[in-house]
C-alpha cells in the first residue's frame, strides 16, 4: 500500500539540499522501523518519491513524499516514531494512506504550490504594495526562463493562480509540477526588474506553505496533497 508523508522543513535544515533530504529520509525509515517496501533486483532500494524538490535556502510547512509500505502502520504511532528519530529542522506532520494507482503519486499530480515571500534584506519603495498590485494587473508578464540547455521567453502571468498581500509579505499560489512550474524567485525578480530595482540590493525569503493537486470536480480548484489521503489505524 502507498502512504503519503507530509513534513515541515525549517531552521538550519534549509541548507540541506534535496538529495541529502532523500538520504535523511532513507535513514529515518530504518531508525523509526517504518516497514517500507524495497524494489527487487540486485541492489534493492526503498520505494520513495518526493512531490517536488525544495531549493537550498527555502523553508516549508508543506513538503511531501510518497512511500510504499510492506505492511500497514498506525498513522499516529508512525508519525510519533519518525519524529522521535528526526532532528530539529524536520518535523513529520502526517502519514496518510493514498491511492495505489501509479499515476496518483505526488510527483505526478502536483499542480500548484503556495509560497510566502517576505523581505530578507534591502529596502522596497514605501508604496511597494501598490506597485506589486500594478505588476500583477498586467495581462502578461514576460520573463526569460533558463532551462538546462537554453533560455526562452515565457509569459508567467497565467502561472500565478492567486496572490495576496499578507502582513508584510506576499502570498503566491503558483503552478507547480511536471507540466508547468514557476519558482517564486522568478516572480520577484520580474517584479524588481520592472521597478528598476537592482536585484542584488534586495533579497527575499521564500517559504513554501502547501502543495496541491487539481481538484477532482474539474472546477479549476485545488486540493492539498495531504487531503487526498486518510489516516491509517492498526
Amino acid at each position: 500500500m502507498k502512504v503519503r508523508i507530509k513534513f515541515r522543513k525549517y531552521g538550519a535544515l534549509k541548507f540541506i539540499g534535496h538529495l541529502d533530504v532523500m538520504r535523511f529520509f532513507q535513514k529515518l525509515m530504518r531508525r523509526a522501523d517504518i516497514p517500507i517496501a524495497f524494489t527487487g533486483g540486485y541492489s534493492p532500494h526503498m520505494i520513495m518519491s518526493f512531490a517536488s524538490p525544495l531549493g537550498i535556502g527555502l523553508t516549508s510547512d508543506g513538503e511531501y513524499l510518497d512511500i510504499e509500505l510492506a505492511r500497514p502502520v498506525d498513522s499516529v504511532d508512525a508519525v510519533r516514531r519518525m519524529n522521535e528519530e528526526s532532528v530539529e529542522g524536520i518535523e513529520i506532520l502526517s502519514l496518510r494512506q493514498i491511492s495505489d494507482e501509479k499515476k496518483m503519486t505526488g510527483m505526478t499530480i502536483l499542480s500548484a504550490a503556495d509560497y510566502l515571500v517576505s523581505l530578507k534584506s534591502g529596502k522596497l519603495p514605501d508604496h511597494w504594495q501598490e506597485l506589486f498590485a500594478d505588476f500583477m494587473s498586467q495581462k502578461e508578464i514576460r520573463v526569460v526562463k533558463q532551462t538546462k540547455r537554453s533560455e526562452k521567453e515565457v509569459d508567467i502571468r497565467p502561472l500565478i493562480h492567486q496572490w495576496e498581500i499578507k502582513d508584510q509579505g506576499i502570498l503566491l499560489k503558483l503552478a507547480a509540477g511536471s507540466r508547468e512550474n514557476l519558482k517564486p524567485d522568478l516572480v520577484m525578480d520580474a517584479f524588481l526588474s520592472g521597478q528598476d530595482i537592482p536585484g542584488d540590493t534586495v533579497s527575499f525569503f521564500y517559504h513554501r506553505l502547501e502543495m496541491y493537486a487539481d481538484s477532482e470536480e474539474n472546477t479549476g480548484g485545488f486540493v492539498s496533497l495531504e487531503a487526498m489521503g486518510h489516516d491509517m489505524t492498526v
Binding site: A12, I16, D20, K27, R30, R31, S43, M46, V87
Partner: protein
C-alpha cells in the same frame, strides 16, 4: 531553535553549507552552563573526511557520556569559508553550540597524516588561539594532539600544549579530573601542564629541551621540568571488548567518505611488515569478542539508519572469528537491504565465497597489496605474500566471474633495484595472463588490471626508520621505469598503471622523521599560503620549497642521510613497548632479505608482551 555562527548570506554563498551547521542525528547538545569542561574535537580536514574517522566518534561518545563534559566537533573550513572568516573576522566555531572554539577548555586535534599540518595552524589561527604554545595564556584552550602522527610529535611540538601518545580510552578521564581540580584551585597554565605531564602517556613539549650535534643530529633530549618524565609511555587498551564504543555515531546530512556503520573488530596486526607504522605502534594485536560485535552491529544499524556496514582492522583475515561474524552479518542483514563491505580481506576461497554473496561480481574489483613486484623485495619488507598466493587467489577470482583486479605497490623501498621495479609490471602481466588461461567462452570479456604505486616514506618506530629516501626526481625516474616496463608487456592493453605524486612524498619524509626545527618550515609554508596540502587542487609545492629556503631547513638532511645504528632519534623518548633493539634487528634482517614469522606463528620478542595481553598471551591463560 539553535542559532548558527554564520548568517544566511554566507551559508548560501559557500559550497556545502551543511559542513558548518551541525544538528545531525545523534550529535550531542548539552547546556553549557551545566558542564565543567567544554572540549572541541578537531579533525583538521574538511567535514566529509573528518566525519569518516572512527577515532573521533569513539572519543566524542566517550566524553559525552560524562555529565561534566560537553564534547563538540570542529573541522577545517574549506578554502571558500576560510576567506570569509578572515575577511569578516569571524572566529572559528564548534558545530554543536556554534560557539567560538576559543571559549572552550580544550581543543583536541587528531593528527592522522603529515599533509594536514598546515591545516592545524589554520584551525588555531581562525580560532584566534596563538600558534605557539609558549604564547598562550589562561584564556586560551589547552591544545592537545593525538593520533598516529604523534608518535613523532616533534615537528608540531611548538604548536601543542600536550600530546596524548597512544589510544584515547585510557587516561582522558584522569586528565579531566585533574583539569577540574586545577580549575578549582585557580592555578596558572603552567601548573596545569605540570599536572598533565605527570599523567602516563601525556607529553608536554614545553617541558623538554633538544640539543643538537655539530652534524645536525640530535644530541640530547631532556626534561627541563621536574614533573616531566624522561620517557613517555604509549597508552593501550588491553581489554578492547569492554572499552567504550559508540552505539550512536553521528550521522551526517551530506555524504561523508565513510557513510556507513564501522565495526572495529581488532586493533594491531600480527604481520610485522617492516614499512608499516600501524603494525608496530598498535602492538600487541587485540581482538574484540565476536558476540559483542554482533550486538554492536544490530544497535548501530538501528541507531543510525545506515544502509551499509563495514569491518575495520589492519588485516581482517587475521581476526579469529571472522567466518562467524561475516556469516552472521550476511544472514541477519542482507535481506534488509543492508550492504556489507569487507575491506582488507586476504583473497582466498572463503573471502571469494562471502564476497560473491555481498557484492555484484561484474561491477566490483578485487584488491591485492603485494606492495612489491619481486619476491626478493617482498622478503625485504617482510610482506608474507608470495606470487603463488596472488596468482592462485586471482585465478580463483577469475574463475568465480571477477575480471577486475587492483594491485597496490610501493616504489623507492630500501635496497630496491631496477629489476625489482620492472617486476611490478611483470607481476601485473602474469595476473592478466592467468585470466587469459581461462577458455575464451568462459571469460567475461577482457580483464582490467589496475596497478598503483605510492612512494615509500620511512616512518618512526618501524624497522625502516633508519632508511634513506630519494630526491623527487629519482622517484619520478623510478615510476617512469615501471611505466616503460608496463608498455613492454604482452597484455599491456589490459593493464593500467598509476603512480602517486613525488613532491608530497618528499614533504611527508621531512615531517615524518623531522625534529623541532621543522616546525619553522610548517609555519612559514602556512604563512606563504599553504593549506589543504593533501588536496591536489590546493597543494603548492613551490611555496613549500620557498618555505624551506626562507627558514634554512635542509630537506636532504632529513631525507637523504643514512642514519647510524646509534643515532638518537627525535621520537626515542616515546616508549611504544616494541624495543628499538627489535626494530634494528628487523632492519638488519631486511638487509639480508630474511623473513620474520608473524606473531601467531612464532613470537619474535619485539617487546610488546610488556602490555601483558593480546596475541602475546593467546592460549597462555
Amino acid at each position: 531553535m539553535r542559532k548558527l555562527a554564520l548568517n544566511d548570506d554566507i551559508l548560501l554563498k559557500i559550497e556545502k553549507p551543511a559542513r558548518y551547521i551541525g544538528g545531525e542525528v545523534n550529535s550531542v547538545i548539552k547546556d553549557k552552563d551545566k558542564v565543567d569542561i567544554r572540549f572541541a574535537m578537531c579533525f583538521p580536514d574538511v567535514y566529509e573526511i573528518g566525519m569518516s574517522h572512527l577515532g573521533i566518534q569513539i572519543l566524542y561518545d566517550m566524553f559525552n557520556q560524562r555529565d561534566d563534559v560537553w564534547c563538540e566537533r570542529v573541522y577545517s573550513p574549506w578554502l571558500d569559508l576560510d576567506k570569509v572568516l578572515r575577511k569578516e573576522n569571524i572566529p572559528l566555531f564548534a558545530l554543536e553550540s556554534q560557539d567560538p572554539v576559543r571559549d572552550f577548555d580544550f581543543l583536541g586535534v587528531t593528527i592522522q597524516f603529515e599533509m594536514c599540518y598546515t591545516n592545524i595552524l589554520q584551525v588555531l589561527e581562525l580560532s584566534h588561539i596563538p600558534l605557539h604554545a609558549s604564547e598562550r595564556t589562561e584564556d586560551d584552550p589547552i591544545v592537545i594532539g593525538g593520533g598516529p602522527c604523534t608518535y613523532n610529535p616533534e615537528p608540531l611540538a611548538e604548536f601543542f600544549d600536550i600530546f596524548y601518545i597512544g589510544e584515547g580510552e585510557t587516561v582522558y578521564e584522569e586528565l579531566f579530573e585533574s583539569y577540574k581540580e586545577w580549575k578549582a584551585s585557580g592555578g596558572n597554565r603552567r601548573e596545569f601542564l605540570e599536572r598533565a605531564a605527570q599523567i602516563e602517556g601525556l607529553y608536554v613539549p614545553l617541558f623538554y629541551d633538544a640539543a643538537y650535534n655539530e652534524d645536525g643530529t640530535l644530541k640530547s633530549f631532556t626534561p627541563n621540568n621536574p614533573y616531566a618524565p624522561a620517557s613517555v609511555k604509549k597508552q593501550v587498551v588491553m581489554n578492547v571488548t569492554d572499552c567504550p564504543y559508540p552505539m550512536k555515531p553521528v550521522v551526517p546530512f551530506i555524504k561523508a567518505t565513510q557513510d556507513r556503520v564501522v565495526l572495529e573488530i581488532q586493533r594491531g596486526c600480527i604481520r610485522g611488515c617492516r614499512f608499516c607504522q600501524a603494525g608496530m605502534i598498535y602492538r600487541p594485536t587485540r581482538e574484540r569478542d565476536v558476540e559483542k560485535l554482533k550486538e554492536y552491529a544490530r544497535a548501530m544499524l538501528k541507531n543510525t539508519g545506515h544502509e551499509e556496514i563495514s569491518l575495520s582492522s589492519l588485516s581482517s583475515s587475521d581476526y579469529s572469528a571472522l567466518k562467524e561474524l561475516v556469516t552472521f552479518l550476511i544472514s541477519e542483514f542482507k535481506d534488509k537491504g543492508i550492504n556489507i563491505s569487507l575491506p582488507s580481506l586476504r583473497i582466498d576461497a572463503f573471502s571469494l565465497d562471502v564476497m560473491s554473496q555481498v557484492q555484484d561480481i561484474r561491477k566490483s574489483s578485487l584488491t591485492f597489496a603485494p606492495e612489491a613486484g619481486s619476491q626478493r623485495m617482498r622478503n625485504v619488507i617482510n610482506k608474507g605474500l608470495t606470487e603463488e598466493d596472488i596468482l592462485t587467489g586471482a585465478g580463483q577470482a577469475f574463475e568465480g566471474g571477477w575480471n577486475k583486479v587492483k594491485l597496490y605497490f610501493m616504489l623507492g623501498l630500501p635496497t630496491e633495484t631496477e629489476e625489482d621495479m620492472r617486476e611490478i609490471a611483470r607481476l601485473s602481466d602474469r595476473v592478466a595472463r592467468r585470466y587469459y588461461e581461462i577458455p575464451k567462452e568462459e571469460r567475461n570479456g577482457k580483464c582490467q588490471i589496475t596497478a598503483s604505486s605510492s612512494f615509500f616514506v620511512p616512518k618512526p618506530f618501524t624497522p625502516f626508520q633508519w632508511a634513506s629516501m630519494f630526491p623527487a626526481e629519482e622517484y619520478t625516474r623510478r615510476a617512469s621505469i615501471v611505466k616503460e616496463e608496463f608498455q613492454a608487456q604482452l597484455n599491456r592493453k589490459s593493464l593500467k598503471y598509476n603512480w602517486h605524486d613525488a613532491q608530497t612524498t618528499v614533504l611527508e619524509g621531512v615531517m615524518a622523521r623531522g625534529d623541532r626545527r621543522v616546525s619553522a618550515v610548517i609555519e612559514e609554508a602556512y604563512r606563504l599560503g599553504c593549506l589543504f596540502d593533501s588536496w591536489t587542487e590546493s597543494f603548492k609545492n613551490d611555496l613549500w620549497m620557498q618555505a624551506f629556503e626562507n627558514t634554512g631547513v635542509d630537506i636532504d638532511f632529513y631525507n637523504l642521510r643514512q642514519r647510524d645504528a646509534e643515532e638518537l632519534f627525535p621520537w626515542d623518548f616515546i616508549d611504544i613497548g616494541v624495543s628499538r633493539k627489535f626494530l634494528y634487528k628487523e632492519w638488519e634482517r631486511a638487509m639480508q632479505g630474511e623473513v620474520t614469522p608473524n606473531c601467531r606463528m612464532q613470537c619474535s620478542g619485539c617487546g610488546a608482551a610488556v602490555f601483558k595481553g593480546g596475541v602475546c598471551y593467546e592460549g597462555k591463560n
